[in-house]
């Protein structure tokens, strides 16, 4: 009983990180990405876990992760509401 060497599935090959990919091969690299809804969800989840493991789940963390999250949220809110805000920007009388 037991599996022979030919029956054991090979582990999935790790793809190159983006900064190691040559410029000409970038479109092929992008084509290999998983852009299904689950793929996008797990990509965000991996990024979130990487951030948390680096800044939050440490013995003696600080305010840095929360400050970064809030700053990022303010910047994204600005970009989100730019169309609404641009009419007010150069007005003399509000």
């Amino acid at each position: 009983m037991g599996l022979s060497a030919s029956q054991i599935p090979e582990p999935p090959k790790k793809d190159l990180p983006l900064w190691d990919v040559k410029l000409g091969e970038v479109p092929k690299w992008v084509g290999r990405r998983d852009i299904s809804p689950t793929g996008v969800y797990f990509a965000f989840k991996r990024a979130e876990l990487k951030f948390h493991n680096k800044y939050v789940h440490v013995k003696r963390g600080g305010i840095a992760p929360y400050a970064m999250m809030l700053t990022g949220y303010c910047i994204i809110s600005y970009i989100w509401s730019y169309d609404h805000l641009k009419h007010d920007m150069l007005r003399k009388h509000h």
């Binding site: 979130e48 948390h52 493991n53 939050v56 789940h57 440490v58 013995k59 003696r60 963390g61 600080g62 992760p65 929360y66 999250m69 809030l70 949220y73 303010c74 994204i76 809110s77 600005y78 970009i79 989100w80 509401s81 169309d83 609404h84 805000l85 009419h87 007010d88 007005r91 009388h93 509000h94």
Partner: protein, 227 residues
Amino acid sequence: MVVSLFSQFDSPWLFSIPLVVLALLVPWKLFVSSGASWAGTRSSVLLESLLGMLMNQVMQPLSKKGFNWVVLLSSLMLMLMTLNVIGLFPYTFTPTTQLSMNLGLAVPLWLATVVYGFRNHPTVALAHLCPEGAPNLLIPVLVVVETLSILMRPLALGLRLTANLTAGHLLMHLISSAVLGLMELSVVLSGITLFLLVFLTMLEIAVALIQGYVFAILVTLYLDENL
């Protein structure tokens, strides 16, 4: 294009998604639950102590029967406080300035407490409509008044939160516009108005925290009446 004072309360859209969706995700993502460390990290200990404080506040008015509701009510308190305070940051959107959202929170919670009371002990719940020791002639009037006051509760809950936050944001908007406008005329006046704006901002932070607390505590009190 006429931009009114109240246009700051519109939820802007990007790629067919309103900003309110992102704003509602903030309390969920900002408080990170503890990782796989049994000893506890600094952030998890701080978060647990904050949650413990909030749960104590919610448990105080409740009898033992109501402790099933503590998790719901304390998470409601934390969510409202967070949404209100984060809304004071620049360019962010405050979902609790929208009456639709506040009524959407107030009506189901209030209705749950009323239905809970009427389902478990209908006689006692009906008896609450007539205060003890009331003169016999006044009883019909008092029952009507008590019924109306119970029906007004969700409206008051939702409107209180909306009005406080909307008024605060409007005042900050107006006074900051006044500071900018006065800069050309008189720097001293502009400085005094800026000084006032600093104090107003501190007041708004306090109001944001208090209004979240009041909303949850009132729901707790309505629940305690019906337990």
